[in-house]
Amino acid sequence: MTLLDDGTRTAAAEPATTWVRTEPARQDRAVAQHKRTLTSVTAEQRFVQAGSWLAALALTWLITTRLLPWDGVVAFTLTWFVLGVGLVALTTSLVGSWPEVVDRVMSGVVHAAVILLGVALLSTVVFIFVRGHSALFHVNFFTQDMEGIGPRDPFDRGGILHAIVGSLIEVGIAVAVTIPLGIGTAIYMTEIGGRFARIVRTVVEAMTALPSIVAGLFIYTVAIVAIGIPSSGLAAALALGVMMLPIIARASDVVLRVVPGSLREASLALGASRWRTVWHVVLPTARPGLATAVILGVARGVGETSPVLLTSGAASFLVTNPTDGVMNSLPLYIYSTVRSGEPLEIARAFAAASVLLALVLLLFVAARLLARPKKGIR
């Protein structure tokens, strides 16, 4: 029997040779659906647009600073935007038709909205770092806790080690509990299925709507008030876990569902048992997606304040035992210090927020790198 790559090899004089395809045929490769670029902007249009916006800028400067008492960033930007759109419409209508005017105006509106979005995101990140940098660049900020540190003590004393450690412990416990449960549930829902799996899926999807504060209130009522567990890192970890469980289970379910059924069928056809199919075929295939789901769930958990607010209490000293009374965490530390009103404390809160933001960024980049398809496979 000969498995042939193409017709040309039939002429080969070795009838007993079996040709095995070592790489996918050209038509097997997923043809990337490139959207063709259908729009082009002529140089003249570019000049007209740039000129209109520049003219609008000059006019805005004239109006807001010389003619009318409209100082302030918001007034300036708004005036520039309105004038710019107006001028673009005017210059376009000199040469073009009505649809062209609408097209240019909407293009201006879309770009302005995106710039506004970008400014909002960038200002968030930059603002946090700028306000926090005075407290951030001290080694002791990462190696000491706040025990015995007053609100007016200088930045070279005290730090947020207790909050960082607390966050890591709480999220660590929550993740250690939710990952096996979440991924196990997702495997059950996709690989075994049946009516019970549909019930589980419905309930899990419904519970993703649970507001995080209600998850915190649930643990507060059940664990702290009714059972009598003290406010502690463990209670906070439980609250975070309750919040993250449906999120991770659902995200893993989505990831596992896109594993091609043909891979499963091939594995079963080769005689593998079900759990071997899951362990050696399904999970490795879905590994990048699962990692992304888990990491994004962790990023969500690290930054979530409200469940922790109700359950952990706020310690000012380093606590490493999650069952031993109050504990602190980064979001809670930020929330409680920023309300003190002391400038130095607020700077510390912003520095802690920078650390939290950097942590989330790190997790996010890790998720992206893991999710990236490996080169050479595709």
Binding site: T37, V110, F127, A197, E205, E265, V360, L361
Partner: protein, 337 residues
């Protein structure tokens, strides 16, 4: 010997997974039982929370009746508990957030799907996802320290020039020589702006996904008929993505209703039944829970749980509607919203 030709194709649908029946081996039985018990555990945990919330809401709802949902006062001392004003405040904040977030996320999604250079598209999509991962406390700090002064000025301007509209009214004189700036801070407006930053990435991600699935043939046909770029967007992309636009916005609304910490940081709590987003003082269900849980007696705690249950049910209904809208629409066939 007659040959019967098949006149119609056999009904084989290659895409539907075939049911594979096998005798379970011992290890498979262990696997099935293990995963099923894990799933049962998760079902008990998650379902238990829902049932627990419902069960603890019952006595409160029985005691206060419908007045719990419509009452405006929260006075545990005189045994008067109502979340009417709090619910209104929750919706006010969410409404402000949506009014800001809807156009921005729609235009942002249009930019990524239609206007952005193809090389930038992946990066911008990651950026939107990153925006979703930024902790809400960070947006709270941003809203409180950076945005509040500017937002106060904008609120004053709106009151001054559009104050005849009832929802722009503030209980102070806008034209006074030195106006009372503190009246325009800590309002549902400022809180809504901070919440909008959390709504935008959710809504934008869903919208971008459906826009990018627009059939290329229809776009190219519209271009071939001489449409401008905006003409194509208006006649092809937006109608195609309508389900995603509605669904994404509703998902964002669900997020906005449950947001706690940014709101708690910005607003100053008030229990008035009013729809004045620009004026100082409002309250939301989640901020109420966060503010009152510590001092709560058993009955108050039950009332807070009831309030949380109401919030959960509202969010659940909105999320379910969003999922239905997305999955029913033409564009949402493969979308996981």
């Amino acid at each position: 010997m007659t040959t019967v030709l098949r006149t119609e194709p056999a009904e084989i649908d290659a895409d539907v997974p075939r049911p594979l029946a096998t005798d379970l081996s011992g290890s498979d039985r262990v696997f099935t039982v293990t995963t099923r018990s894990i799933a049962a555990t998760v079902l008990v945990i998650t379902g238990g929370i829902g049932l627990f919330l419902a069960a603890s809401a019952v006595p409160t709802l029985q005691r206060y009746g419908l007045g719990f949902l419509t009452g405006t006062r929260w006075e545990p001392e005189s045994d008067v508990l109502g979340i009417g004003s709090v619910l209104l405040g929750t919706f006010t904040v969410a409404l402000v957030a949506l009014v800001v977030a809807f156009p921005l996320s729609l235009l942002g999604a249009l930019y990524i799907a239609e206007y952005a250079p193809p090389r930038l598209r992946g990066f911008l999509t990651s950026l939107i996802d990153l925006m979703a991962a930024v902790p809400s406390i960070v947006y709270g700090l941003w809203g409180f320290f950076l945005l509040q002064p500017h937002a106060g000025a904008v609120a004053h301007w709106l009151h001054q020039h559009l104050g005849f509209l009832p929802f722009f009214r503030v209980g102070t004189d806008p034209d006074a020589a030195v106006y009372d700036a503190s009246k325009y801070t800590a309002s549902a407006f400022v809180a809504g702006l901070a919440v909008a930053m959390m709504v935008i990435p959710m809504a934008c991600a869903v919208m971008r996904q459906v826009f990018s699935q627009t059939p290329p043939g229809e776009r190219e046909a519209a271009f071939a008929l001489g449409a401008t770029h905006w003409g194509v967007i208006r006649t092809v992309v937006l109608p195609f993505g309508r389900g995603g636009i509605i669904g994404g916005t509703m998902l964002g609304l669900g997020r906005a209703l449950g947001e706690t910490i940014a709101v708690l940081l910005i607003i100053s709590p008030a229990f008035d039944l009013k729809f004045r987003p620009l004026e100082i003082g409002t309250n939301t269900v989640s901020a109420l829970i966060a503010g009152r849980f510590g001092e709560a007696s058993d009955r108050q705690l039950a009332a807070l749980l009831a309030a949380g249950f109401v919030l959960f049910v509202i969010t659940l209904i909105i999320n379910t509607l969003a999922a239905i809208v997305v999955s029913r629409s033409r564009s949402g066939q493969g979308a996981d919203a």
